[in-house]
Subunit: 360 residues, 4 copies
């Protein structure tokens, strides 16, 4: 078994890492770390609200009692050398400081944006850009680390990138126009969306989100070179909004391809995407990366977010666009806190373990 630590363990992403790892066949949770406020307590104590006794647990499934007994260490003092892999679910500012410290000794898989845009840091999405993994060698050498840092993309990037990948491969992508309708769980718990703001409402802006998505799509779909990634040559326009949905980002997509195609061909490309990855048989892998619905009322976040335990991207309304030649339209739903966050990161770790980058 590979020894895993979770940093930022008490937060919403950290809790999802606990769920993704607590009964994992390859990884065991050997360490939990958090800020000064929680350090020195058991995980169960740290999660419990002192005044009301309530367990501050935000996910649908419950944590394993054994995990609640684990001690929470101070993130700054964590001895990275004890672990085979460290999963981090922190804000960007502490991630900037702590992740390099850990990476000196240990592979770090992060959900923070702190290192996403560095040249030698691949932003990995399973089945999309597995060849970017080789860049980790360059990173290690350049930085003199035994480990490395590889971050998850933004949760809104993820569903878009998974559906764009087969289209880029088969037909080329000239332009992407996206309007997202994002779930409230994506906004985290500290500084999250207040109910006062979202009931009976849409919020038409999420700070920094559109820039992140545009930049990350280019990088994720880009070409690896010896020392970095050449971004994909595509134009993108994004509007990111928040809607009263708990989990599951919905994205309205318009894609202009470089080569002529038709809906049937695109559908085939989507449905076959990731087949060889699925055959790797990794524990957290979906059985099918992209599920395509004929029913025009699908995908809906409430009905489709949990497809394949939240690891599949669900597509519907695939049709020829009415405005652009070589234009395609579709709507997708992607689970922002499963494939789009902790569990997606665990799937990446499984791939890295199989390829010998973790635990070797």
């Amino acid at each position: 078994m590979l020894k895993a630590a979770i940093v930022g363990a008490t937060g919403i992403v950290g809790q999802q890492f606990v769920l993704a790892l607590q009964h994992h066949p390859w990884f065991t949770i050997e360490g939990l770390a958090a800020s000064q406020r929680s350090a020195g307590q058991s995980y169960g104590q740290a999660l419990r609200d002192p005044s009301s006794g309530a367990l501050r647990w935000y996910a649908q499934s419950a944590p394993d009692p054994a995990v609640l007994d684990l001690p929470v260490e101070l993130a700054e003092d964590l001895d990275a050398g004890r672990f085979d892999v460290i999963f981090t679910g922190m804000e960007s500012a502490p991630a900037k400081v702590l992740e390099p410290l850990y990476a000196k000794q240990c592979p770090v898989l992060s959900t923070a944006s702190a290192f996403r845009y560095e040249d030698d840091v691949p932003v990995l999405i399973p089945a999309v850009n597995d060849d970017h993994i080789a860049l980790l060698e360059a990173q290690r050498q350049k930085r003199g680390w035994q480990g490395f840092i590889t971050p998850q993309p933004n949760c809104t990037t993820l569903g878009a990138a998974i559906t764009l990948a087969p289209i880029a491969t088969h037909f080329g992508i000239d332009t992407v126009v996206m309007t997202s309708m994002q779930a409230v769980s994506g906004s985290g718990r500290n500084g999250g969306v207040l109910s006062l703001d979202i009931v009976d409402n849409v919020i038409p802006y999420i700070s920094g989100e559109e820039e992140k998505v545009q930049r990350e799509i280019g990088k994720v779909l880009g070409q690896r070179t010896a020392n970095g990634i050449v971004p994909a040559d595509l134009r993108m326009s994004a509007t990111c909004t928040r809607v009263p949905v708990i989990d599951g980002h919905t994205e309205s997509m318009l894609v202009i391809t470089k080569h002529q195609t038709d809906v049937a061909e695109v559908r085939t490309a989507l449905e076959h995407f990731g087949e060889s990855f699925v055959q790797l048989g990794l524990p957290s892998s979906p059985q099918q990366f992209i599920v395509v619905h004929d029913d025009p009322f699908r995908p809906q976040p409430r009905l489709d977010r949990d497809t394949d335990d939240g690891m599949a991207t669900v597509v519907g309304r695939l049709r020829a666009d009415t405005a652009f030649e070589n234009g395609l339209q579709y709507v997708l739903v992607s689970h922002n806190t499963k494939m789009g966050a902790a569990k997606g990161s665990v799937l990446t770790a499984e791939l890295l373990a199989q390829k010998g980058y973790i635990g070797a």
Copy 2:
């Protein structure tokens, strides 16, 4: 005072006509008509649920007690000759049959789609295409009617068209890409969206809506000829979705203009749009047709739908597009059951009355 009738008076649109007309300075409600189920009762009786005694009233403001005492006539038997104007809020199928009967004698303003796509029928939006009014003469002559039919556009068309009109005038429009996030009240009460379908959800499709919007935008922004409208020469792509919002459609817009411009110029054009219309001083007119926000978190349907009592279109996030040269992006909120339905239709009637098409 001009004598007005409301047909489909017990439905959700009919009730909004009651609210828009009950204290109107120019119009009095002289007739109410509905189907067999309600005919022969007082309006108050017809609205009351026989088993529970509940008043089936769907709007926030209450009806005037005097209106509740008015008799409800059978729509099929309504003597159109008694009225100066008839407002109809019916489904498309009965509208197809009844509106021409009324139009023989009386002007008909409709919210149904039944006649929207006929050559000699203008789809009027105040301040957008007032010159299309002249087509009513051709309609009268061709059909041998004393009255005429002029329908409201679809509620989703309306907010889009109002913001596109000044852009078309000043900069020309090549292409429009729209994703709407529509309120549930737009779906009406019979066959409306069930709460089971929309709580914690987005529905990515509304039957027929996208085709309507694309067709109507072309017509509304088109050029009037002697016998019809030549649609505007623009390309459009639309995705219409439903979100858990009571009132107020939100639309994410991407517009590619024919001529180069910048955000400041577009903003000026939007803010000045409709100024001469406002100076007509019509009773239901907004004070400003388009309100533009700098705050990137606006417009929000809950905060902005009631701007100028639901008659203004509220715009925010105006910015240069990142994918297309001459591309502009913005988000708008438009009140789908006020400017987008009955009260918008009453504003059109006020304009027609002032120009002598009603009550002359």
Copy 3:
């Protein structure tokens, strides 16, 4: 395997019966029946909307493809003699007519209220009143049927009754005051709550619900005699409201017991309730009938409704009442469309099968 039919198969309750039975170890779905509109088609065809092609499926889990191929028969023509048990999910009016026809030949488990208040008809809740089963003999004799009818209680009755049963047994119940906050899925699909009515709202009334709950609680907790049930001697007051929640009824309970007790004793009684039933090992049985939380912020419908796959009743805020001597307060959450409807009915069928009332 026991041969089961589902009548009202295309409705929301019928679909839940399909889910509860499609991979059941004891029952196979041998027949599906519905009204004229669906009869003669395959189940999949009957569920598909002719204009849009959408599958009208309302539950989170998907139906088995094999079930979609089964033919739908006309409910009026169903040959009850072919089955070991018939599950019905119809409105009360057709249930009144059809259920007795089926019961001549076959056991009928119903979710309709049509026969709930007849003297010789037990309203069974697993673990609560299993001794009422013996009344089925009297029913068969009196009516001359080979089968019988036994209905589920109302979904709001169910959670209340399960928690009241151990309190009644151990401490006696003098009075119950309940305010429910019910989910929208309880209102069914035809005539269900419109989203226009429930977003940002509470509806303080559900027609007939309070009377049903008060009457059914008395019957369910009553004493069986040779020919009927003597209602429990308790007083009850109920206010039933609807809130914007998809699944899971929340009930605020105040119980005045006959005998003095304390919170610890009541908690023990609740937690041990149903233990011998659980040991029967029935396939749909919860592992624990009543789960009690210390966390004062629980139970919450979104977090707790799926406890033990929706078959457990979850209790929290158990405390001594501040107004009444021998008063207890608590809040419960019960899954209205699982234990409270189809799957609860299947659990009853399992018990009846084990006792030889079905399939003997």
Copy 4:
């Protein structure tokens, strides 16, 4: 004109005070105060988010531009002697420190709970306990203040107390059982309910709320003596829950009266309550304190919270209780951020001004 200050001006309650006072016929806003973070800026600057430029304004109506230009002073340094009245909308801890400082020189009307339970501090509700005002004299003498402190009750207490007052007067109250379904705006903005917690959910607990309501009901309906209030002799039991509603608390009430009565008598008592208060003609007074609906589907928070601009309490479902002799049941809706907070406090100030306690 009376000179008013608002302390805690940038918070949600402070903003409501701005709305309630900005066009008031008797009061002018002469001072705004807040914490260190906002002090020294204009009100408009203090409200603006530095990174996004968004105006952090939480109420539906907009602030007057003139108010946005007022300077924000530091609450600790506010010279209370400049004002005729100070309205405070702070958390309890700073209120405990600052309100007595202000009260040395100036009347203080507070929405905080800091002084609610002190013997010499009346908790005033217009029309309910106007005779408690005389206690302010005792407070001034005892504490040696020129001014005084008088707090609003909790927003959940308010609607309950207004409906209980006429029942207590006419029929006596023995016991009250209440389950509240409270809006999210009642939870404030800092530490407010996150959307992640409330969409598709009910939260069955609000820390400290039930104790507050029970204690305050007794005090508000109590008897004034020379030096304090003797609490009303009634028993009360409360369960306070949070539901996905923006504004408007819904309360399910069961009242056991001391004397026999009937629904018609109670209805008359409710409808006539506050008539003499209304005749005072105070600017913020409702036209009718309690509006009673026959329609069993009312009151609903979305439809009824704004009755009389949020100053009326709306009652429905008035009926004889089925469990208790002399038991009555009803449901009420009360606007928690209008009558239940700032605007209710302004109405109290109007009464105090008319009686010479403010501005004399």
